[in-house]
Symmetry: C2
């Protein structure tokens, strides 16, 4: 393993131990203050080493995954209370069953009566009782059933009448919070996420349908909600690394971002004010999440090899394996002293989930030193 | 291995054998007609199985790679004439050397005198002669030295004077061709790519500096250039799969696209005219390459499970593991009969390189049947 940051291959994914730890601590303190419990989403990091740090941080009652591959990986490594938080499809039920039979307390989600019927029937046929949460739509963001709809009750009744599935709760994700840019907007969306979830649970309970869990969350709403009355757990993921989109939302500072892409300077186009790196969109991802925010960082904010500021630089363009570094301020000339041919820079990501998804491992670093390589699990 | 397309897990990457073969045949015929030779870029597919089909198609004199990991993978599998077509960095020279010592005829590229000095010095120190191509900028797209500049001669002289590096040619990639939308614009950029490359080679030769290779290409220019006088080889990659961006450029039809993402329908938002799938941006990539084209397909064009048309549908929005399928024509209601809960769709990619980069394998299919799984090599 390389000993120093300057020995690392490029492009590679670097994880700052101290920033990771302080981000984890911040969320744990927040959840403790609210008197809640955390079910951290592992889709950002997909690493047992990061998950173990989050669990050690406290207030964790299980994890959330975005793929069955993650569920299998984390269960094999000792974590058994898992919510698979993407609406299930029929072709995944066999793998879900296999995990349950092996002892995994796996919970699945769905948002419509037809899928509830499919799951219930499959459970009956295989004498398994699937643990189901109903996904709620509390912000019009993507999937989920309206918490005030008849369909919610239809789904609950379908599950309650079957021996093949068991309703264990309701869950939602206020993804629209990623579009907020003021504390007031964040507070409002977090309150709506909470209130509509509690309402849905109470509507089901009012009809005699058990609904134990009320699971809400996203990094912005978890850091904004004023109380967790009626909520049993909070899901959040990207806060462990943070990223430029979260900085734009206002819940962190670019300096809190724990993960970055180390790249080499391979050339210049001096007349254009460009330095060219070996970190293109394959290394950074195609995510342009800051493009609609007040601060647009192109494909990422460029800092020095050890995280130090070297001017207001960004990756202003990217091809598959080429990054174009330029000034964010018009066409100001680059200070090429900070960008020597063959030298190194780090790029802070727009969206940590997307950028980390391009790699199979992290290099954990502390200052100049490389401490460890931590593998990731990708795919489905 | 699953026997039928309908048995495949979702999301997954599906490769249509018949389309792959006809795309390969089309380019081989084109190169034969022009009397040229092909150095196909493997960065799109990163698969030895696809590479072997391309080689079997004929007129191939070596391959082009975008990472040293690709170089290692393909060399281990019997391909030894390899151009690493991204400007090299000092921290990669050891791996380049190891490949050369093992018998790989590996060529590297650079575009500035400083990097030429670094490479020459490293070669001298290790008694290795690196094979170097000078990268030319023929369209202002990203990297490369101006073919008419003094710097070109400075680089050539630096290399010619060293025993640690050998100039083997010039190369360029007219990436701006991806922005063309008419045959006239494509012809013009392809002629400039050719003419300026030949000019650079002749300037070097005129000074007594040997310059054997003149390597040009991209899928659009390879399919547009009118002759290859003075050119020794053509590089192109994405044509093996094609994609919606190439359809927008006008060099293929969406029906030629050989690769697609199979996804399951997990829910509806009927009032919005949305169907929700398990194919989000992790499955499709964040590439929005058609956003500036005449036909904007969102995150991809949606067709039936066997490639059949089911209306003018696209993935109009995407989260990490959720795709939002909607009509491309305003807010027209979806025909949900074509999109049953739990049913399958295929999504044709905007950019095949980016989408395929999200997977570790292809499922090769022929109609309903799954023929094979073909692994990919990712990372650096």
């Amino acid at each position: 393993m390389p000993q120093f940051v300057t020995d690392l291959p490029t492009p590679c994914l670097v994880l700052e131990k101290s920033k990771l730890e302080s981000n984890i601590e911040r969320m744990a303190e927040r959840i403790a203050h609210l008197g809640g419990a955390l079910r951290p989403h592992v889709k950002t990091h997909k690493s047992i080493d990061v998950a173990n740090k989050v669990i050690a941080g406290g207030f964790v009652k299980g994890i959330t995954v975005s793929t069955l591959r993650e569920a299998e990986y984390f269960f094999e490594r000792g974590i058994s209370d898992i919510m698979y938080a993407v609406g299930v499809s029929p072709n995944k039920l066999k793998r879900v069953r296999e995990l349950m039979v092996a002892g995994c307390d796996l919970k699945i989600v769905l948002d419509n009566k037809r899928m509830a019927e499919i799951v219930a029937k499959e459970g009956e046929a295989h004498r398994v009782e699937y643990n189901v949460l109903i996904e709620l739509d509390t912000d019009g963001h993507r999937s989920g059933v309206n918490p005030e709809s008849d369909e919610l009750i239809n789904i609950g009744s379908t599950l309650a009448q079957s021996t093949g599935a068991k309703l264990v709760g309701v869950m939602t994700h206020a993804g629209e919070s990623y579009g907020c840019q003021t504390p007031e907007a964040l507070l409002e969306i977090s309150q709506r996420e909470r209130d509509l979830s509690v309402l849905a649970a109470e509507r089901l309970r009012g009809l005699g349908i058990e609904c134990q869990m009320v699971s809400i969350g996203s990094t912005p709403t978890a850091l904004s909600v004023d109380n967790l009355n009626g909520v049993t757990e909070v899901r959040a993921g990207v806060y462990v690394f943070f990223d430029l989109v979260m900085a734009g939302v206002g819940v962190c500072d670019p300096d809190d971002v724990a993960v970055s892409v180390l790249s080499s300077i391979i050339g210049y186009q001096e007349d254009k004010g460009w330095a060219i790196t070996d970190g293109g969109w394959m290394a950074l991802s195609r995510d342009r999440g800051t493009s609609n925010q007040f601060e647009d960082y192109g494909y990422g904010k460029v800092v020095g090899a050890h995280g130090e500021s070297i001017g207001d630089l960004a990756v202003i363009g990217a091809n598959q394996e080429h990054g174009i570094v330029g000034s964010r301020i018009g066409n100001s000339p680059l200070n090429l002293n900070n960008l020597p041919i063959g030298g190194l820079v780090r790029v802070l990501p727009n969206h940590a989930c997307a950028t980390a998804g391009q790699y199979d491992k992290y290099y954990l670093v502390d200052g100049d030193r490389v401490l460890a390589t931590w593998p990731r699990v990708n795919g489905w």
